[in-house]
Amino acid sequence: MKRYLATLYRGRWLYLLVLLVPLVASIVGAFYLARPSYEASARVWIGAPVLANLLNQTPQPTYPVPPTLAKEHVDRFQQLLQSDAFMAGIVRKTAAASELTGDPRSDAMALDDIRQRLAISAAGTNTMTVAFTAPDRELCQQMVQVALAEFRAWSIQEQVEQRTAEAQEYQRQLRAQEAQITEFRRAIADAQRQFPAIPDGATPQYLELERLNRELEAAQGRHMVVRGKLDQAGLSENPDDERWLSQFRIQDAPTALPQGTFATLLGRLTYLALGLGTGAALVAVAVSFTTWRDTTVRNVDELAALTDVPILGVVPHLLTRSQRRDRSVIVPPRRTGDRSLEISPRGVAE
């Protein structure tokens, strides 16, 4: 390991160059050779259902704070996109339908690729954005339009089903309350028949009759409230009434093909990572090859491993006069300990 590091350190400037050349090439490639991408996006305003609070007119504050309407829909949308069936339903209505070949593996890969390029996010309390990025401009536009339409259709269907179930529940409650009212009326009638002349006061018969009357009035009151609300909303008659549905209003529709290129940061980073990885690999190969080819002795340990002849010492690298003069700019020459050796530069070079 040390030998490899020493090789790297000795040729550090060359290896740095080897590292930088692919990196610079990848930077150039990222900015000039990367395929242009386009992004189509739409902003959708989501309003609460008109009759949302009708049955619960005084909502109590809750903790933690519930998600906003936009976040709630974004969450639903993203969950739906995780479903291959929903994604396939979108893709089949776009120009990318040809990518679905019927092979489960390749279809899953194609859907994953499209899924990653479809971005759903909330941009406020009531605004949801849908964006799609691809080199094909028409596909971008189609994908956003179809995805929104599919989500809206699914959302309506889901809410209609929910409202239908709610209506059925309220109908059941109404029937139960009507049954209670009938029961109380029958009980009162029975009591009046059994005790035609109930004396006033604290007799048990009188108290039981009073209780039945109160229960009957309470049941009639609840029945009237529920009936009144349902009549007012028209839910019992028509659960498809759009007043119960979330209001989708597309603010910025991708009506035109996207024009400006959208260079994805991830794409460029991929190029840079490739360049850096290539450079690092080249450096690793070069260092390994150089170290493997280098059969020279570099230190006392390697020399000692080669022979048992005693090693008397190590003479450091001797600087020539010109090298010393160059270095003297930073480090003044130490005159006090110098000795004169009548050695020619040729001898020194040896």
Partner: protein, 224 residues
């Protein structure tokens, strides 16, 4: 260019304290292993050209002389001579030297360069010559070394590299001891093994690693 080379060749090379300390360490360890009173010829060689044996030889000679490390029985510092035997890379190639003496054209005292106090004597090669191989293999070469052996307290031979020609091996036979120079990051381990095979192992007193550098920054070196 020739003028510039000549001007550069006359300029002294300075050694800093750290380098001097390293040379002191080396000659101290050397002197522990050498019996210079009886065998005082030390050959310095390397496996290949460019390992730095000439620098090491000059540094050792200079430091030994400057420190007066070789003391005679009478207390005076011993005489040290550096003999350049490498015609390809040698100090003072332009001056007459060993080759001219071996040809008999000059006297030995004429080619041994005088030295100031605290510096070694120096016998240059005398330039490259086509008859260098034959001259070093002549009996005159052996006689010259024998003469230097008796006249000086320590004779340092700057030998040619071992694996380039056989001149290094031939001249190595004149030395009592051999010192092998290995240059860090330059000398392949394979050539070191070959050089060790060609050397007379009983003469080899040690190896010096030249041009040793810190391989990693200090903070990283500590982790290994």
């Amino acid at each position: 260019m020739l003028r510039r080379a000549a001007r550069e060749s006359q300029s002294p090379q300075q050694l800093d304290d750290a380098s001097l300390a390293r040379f002191r360490d080396i000659y101290t360890r050397l002197l522990f292993n050498l019996d210079v009173e009886r065998q005082n010829v030390l050959g310095i060689t390397s496996a290949m050209d460019g390992d730095g044996k000439t620098v090491i030889a000059a540094g050792l000679a200079s430091t030994l002389a400057a420190d007066g490390a070789l003391a005679r029985p009478d207390g005076r510092p011993g005489d040290i001579i550096l003999v350049s035997c490498d015609q390809d890379r040698a100090i003072g190639r332009s001056a007459p030297g060993l080759l001219q003496y071996l040809r008999g054209s000059v006297g030995l005292d004429d080619v041994i360069q005088p030295a100031a106090q605290g510096t070694p004597r120096f016998l240059p090669t005398g330039g490259p010559a086509p008859d260098f191989p034959s001259l070093i293999r002549s009996s005159a070469m052996g006689e010259t070394i024998q003469h230097l052996r008796t006249r000086f307290d320590l004779v340092l031979l700057d030998l040619p590299p071992l694996l380039a020609t056989t001149d290094g091996q031939v001249l190595g036979t004149y030395a009592d001891y051999l010192l092998l120079i290995v240059r860090a990051g330059i000398t392949p381990s394979k050539l070191i093994r070959q050089a060790l095979q060609q050397l007379e192992r009983d003469k080899l007193v040690g190896i010096v690693l030249n041009d040793g550098r810190r391989e990693l920054p200090g903070w990283l070196e500590q982790r290994f």
